[in-house]
């Protein structure tokens, strides 16, 4: 016995496949964007109050203004030592860099800065990684570009290498114009 409409039902698998095809074809021909963006991009930087840790550098008060980089780092983090060179180049181009030292000690950090260089304006000590939670950061190092209004414009996960220099500099330039 053939039920009315059964003939149409037989086409359902083909229709489902056509839907699948449309979906993946759309996905395939879109420009690739593999980065998972931070939920905080476009949002205000949370006010972070972190005490100073090494002499000569203020801590973070949450009152900082102006376009800048916020760099999460630590003296025990090997990639952080590698990225100091790029940070110094950014500093030489007039970029203000605030550091957040995660789970660090004054002695270790002073030695780190003496050895690898010191591109920072302010360094706040975050002994319990609280700022990392507040920033939704995935690890150390990680760098945020913040504009004059205190809004996060760009996020870089991992160490800044020579190949990332231009992109970060451009992001800071963009952050100067609101």
């Amino acid at each position: 016995m053939r039920v009315k409409g059964q003939g149409l039902l037989l086409w359902a698998p083909l229709l489902a496949f056509v839907a699948f095809f449309a979906l993946v074809a759309a996905g395939l021909f879109k420009p690739a964007d593999t980065a998972v963006r931070s939920k905080l991009i476009g949002k205000a930087l949370p006010a972070l109050t972190l005490p100073p840790i090494v002499p000569g550098h203020p801590g973070l008060t949450g009152e900082e203004r102006g376009p800048r980089l916020v760099n999460i780092f630590a003296s025990w983090c090997v990639p952080c030592a590698a990225e100091v060179e790029e940070l110094a180049r950014l500093r030489a181009r007039g970029v203000v860099i605030d550091g957040i030292a995660v789970r660090d000690t004054p002695a270790e950090l002073s030695a780190f800065l003496a050895r690898h260089g010191n591109p920072y304006r302010a360094i706040g000590s975050d002994a319990e990684s609280r700022s990392m939670l507040a920033l939704g950061s995935s690890g150390v190092p990680e760098t945020f570009v913040v504009d004059a209004a205190g809004v996060i414009r760009y996020q870089h996960i991992g160490a800044i290498g020579p190949q990332d220099f231009e992109a970060i500099l451009r992001a800071v330039e963009d952050a100067r114009t609101i």
Partner: protein, 638 residues
């Protein structure tokens, strides 16, 4: 020279597949060229196998004037990884794919003689049509034999995560399973074209489906264990798109395996079986597409490229779309078989098929969902274990319960009372297991709790078909079913135990400090440098004490020279009641090291179960072939 010979063989094989398709198509329409088709299919298989052997030889000799070798191998690599490098990359793995396709087509041509010749010719033409598209893909978009001028000096190396013995075995096994399903697909095409869907069709197809399914099961089991010990995350299944891509064909093939039995024995479910044959291989192709195109972000996509993805998508739309259209046009003219009562073997198998299909649907939706959300809302997200576990878990448990009851039912119709009598003992055990777990381990989540007790009851029930039978006279395929079903129960027990009782500790330890995980007390003895042929490492020495037993574990953080990469090598100690799993993490401040320690009771049952499932499949295969007196056929799988 070797590379050129391989390329020539590939072109020749492509030409033969075109000939096979045209001759097959003409023969089905009555032109007298049918005798051409089988020899051509065999020759095509031999040439494709030759091309793959040529590529292996090029890798074995590290011929750096071949671009693929230069990009994926290195002079200093151990030989086994040089060979594994053949399929550890896009071009090589696609060549393996098509070689398996062509060889299975050749095996069908050489041995399968039980269906009407016209159906067989149409089947082989279908196989040739699939092969032709993938030859075109290789030759146009991903030539594995392309030369590099000038030749490279030493080669870039293979992704270190892939430099592991498990990988020498895992992808080829999985591919034989994936692509073996193409035979079922082609059988369905042949049967639709000639309108020959019946018990004979099902009996002819069954050994091929079983063979592919055994390899698929082994491949998934090995892949799961590989991810477990190599990725160093302590998990054995991540619901990652690449894993789902292998699970979906398995689910479809498992459903097919059971519906084929109904069709072969009772002549029912013909349309559904044809549909599943199409779906199973379509899932293989979708899986290949998802993995090869890089369209979904995955933890282990090792070879991705969007333009190639477009090519595979095109092939996919031709084959899957064509087959589904053919299905819609022709299946209405196929005779449906005999009717049956809901309480019967057929009824249980229909329930099995519906549940497997539902799980397949859930996995497919979950895998594609991020793509849909991105297309519509523009947000990137990933669907994780919480969705998959919650959505598939209850269905899978129900499926396992039905699996235990099904084989105890009679074909056509049975009585609830008769069934109740047979399952009384397992049901009591299940309830006992539930009560025992509730008493001994209070506070378990519902899924692991049910999982443990069902595994216990079903493990016993799966042996029930043997009760009261002479074990020596029980056919081998019945033994196979029992062993496979027992394997499911064993694997389920392992999964539930791992999920319910695993203990994890993350410590930052200085030398000499101790930590506890599960029944073990672990002492951090120190770190030493270590090195292998193409890597250096920091190796931690841990001693684990449990009563009088002392185990020594040496997890490593490895640094590979080519390409420069860090990996962590977990150290795993297997004892009778579980595994101790240790990973060395990053050095912290002042001489502390991060250590991740897991105690996983009975976790090994997961893979033991997987092995039993595959073994049962193999026993069934041998049993069926022997029963149907075609001894030649299993030479193809030897």
């Amino acid at each position: 020279m070797i590379a050129e010979a391989g390329l020539a063989a590939l072109w020749l094989a492509a030409a033969l597949s075109l000939l096979q398709l045209v001759a097959g198509g003409l023969a089905v329409r009555g032109v007298d060229v049918a005798s051409l088709v089988r020899p051509v299919a065999v020759a095509q298989g031999a040439l494709a196998a030759f091309a793959f052997a040529a590529l292996m030889l090029v890798f074995a000799r590290t011929d750096l004037s071949v671009a693929l070798v230069a990009a994926n191998s290195h002079v200093d690599k151990p030989m086994v990884y040089k060979l594994a490098g053949t399929w550890g990359n896009h071009e090589g793995s696609m060549l393996l794919w098509i070689a398996v396709l062509a060889v299975s087509g050749a095996a069908v041509a050489a041995w399968e003689r039980r269906l009407p010749e016209r159906t067989m010719i149409a089947t082989l033409a279908g196989q040739a049509a699939i092969a032709l598209g993938f030859y075109a893909f290789l030759l146009i978009a991903s030539n594995p034999f392309a030369r590099l001028s000038p030749a490279a000096a030493e080669g870039r190396g293979l992704n270190p995560v892939l430099q592991d013995p498990g990988l020498a075995f895992h992808p080829p096994t999985l591919y034989i399973g994936y692509v073996g399903l193409s035979v079922a697909f082609s059988f369905a095409i042949g049967a639709l074209v000639t309108r020959e869907v019946g018990p004979a069709f099902a009996r002819a197809m069954r050994p091929w489906v079983l063979g592919a399914w055994v390899f698929l099961t082994l491949g998934i089991t090995a892949g799961s264990y590989w991810a477990y010990y190599e990725l160093g995350w302590g998990g054995w299944w991540f619901w990652d798109p690449v894993e789902n891509a292998s699970l979906m064909p398995w689910l479809a093939a498992t459903a097919l395996l059971h519906s084929v039995s109904v069709l072969a024995t009772r002549g029912a479910l013909s349309a559904w079986t044809v549909m599943l044959s199409v779906v199973a291989f379509s899932m293989s192709m979708v899986g290949t597409f998802l993995v090869r195109s890089g369209i979904l972000t995955s933890v282990h996509s090792f070879a991705v490229d969007p333009t190639r993805g477009a090519f595979i998508l095109l092939l996919l739309s031709i084959y899957v779309g064509g087959a589904l259209a053919l299905f819609a046009l022709r299946i209405g003219t196929v005779r449906e078989g005999t009717l049956f009562q809901p309480i019967s073997r057929e009824g249980a198998l229909v329930a099995n098929n519906l549940l497997l299909s539902a799980i397949l649907g859930i996995v497919l939706v979950g895998t594609l969902y991020p793509l849909g959300v991105e297309a519509i809302a523009g947000e990137k997200l990933s669907v994780g274990p919480p969705y998959f576990n919650a959505a598939t878990g209850p269905l899978a448990l129900l499926l396992v319960v039905i699996m235990a009851a099904g084989p105890l039912l009679r074909w056509r119709r049975d009585r609830i009372v008769a069934l109740a009598r047979k399952v009384a003992l397992p049901a009591i055990l299940l309830a006992g297991g539930l009560a025992a777990t509730l008493l001994l381990a209070p506070g378990l989540r519902i899924l692991p709790l049910l999982g443990l007790s069902i595994a216990f009851g079903v493990g016993v029930a799966s042996l029930a078909p043997l009760w009261g039978r002479s074990l020596r006279r029980t056919p081998l395929f019945t033994w196979g079913m029992v062993v496979s079903h027992l394997g499911i129960a064993v694997a389920l027990g392992g999964m539930a135990s791992e999920s319910a009782f695993s203990r994890e500790t993350l410590v930052s330890a200085a030398v000499g400090e101790t930590a506890e995980v599960g029944p073990y007390r672990i002492r951090f003895e120190g770190v030493t440098p270590a090195s292998g042929r193409n890597w250096t490492a920091v190796e931690a020495r841990l001693t684990a004490e449990r009563g009088d037993d002392v185990l020594v574990l040496t997890p490593q953080a490895r640094i590979f020279a080519a390409p420069p990469t860090e990996t962590s090598e977990a150290a795993i100690a297997t004892v009778l009641d579980g595994q101790l799993y240790t990973v060395l993490g990053k050095p912290g401040a002042d001489g502390h090291w991060q250590l991740r320690l897991w105690w996983k009771p009975f976790v090994t049952l997961i893979w033991l179960g997987g092995g039993l499932i595959a073994l049962g499949g193999l026993m069934s295969l041998i049993g069926r072939v022997r029963r149907e007196r075609r001894p030649a056929i299993w030479a193809a799988f030897a």
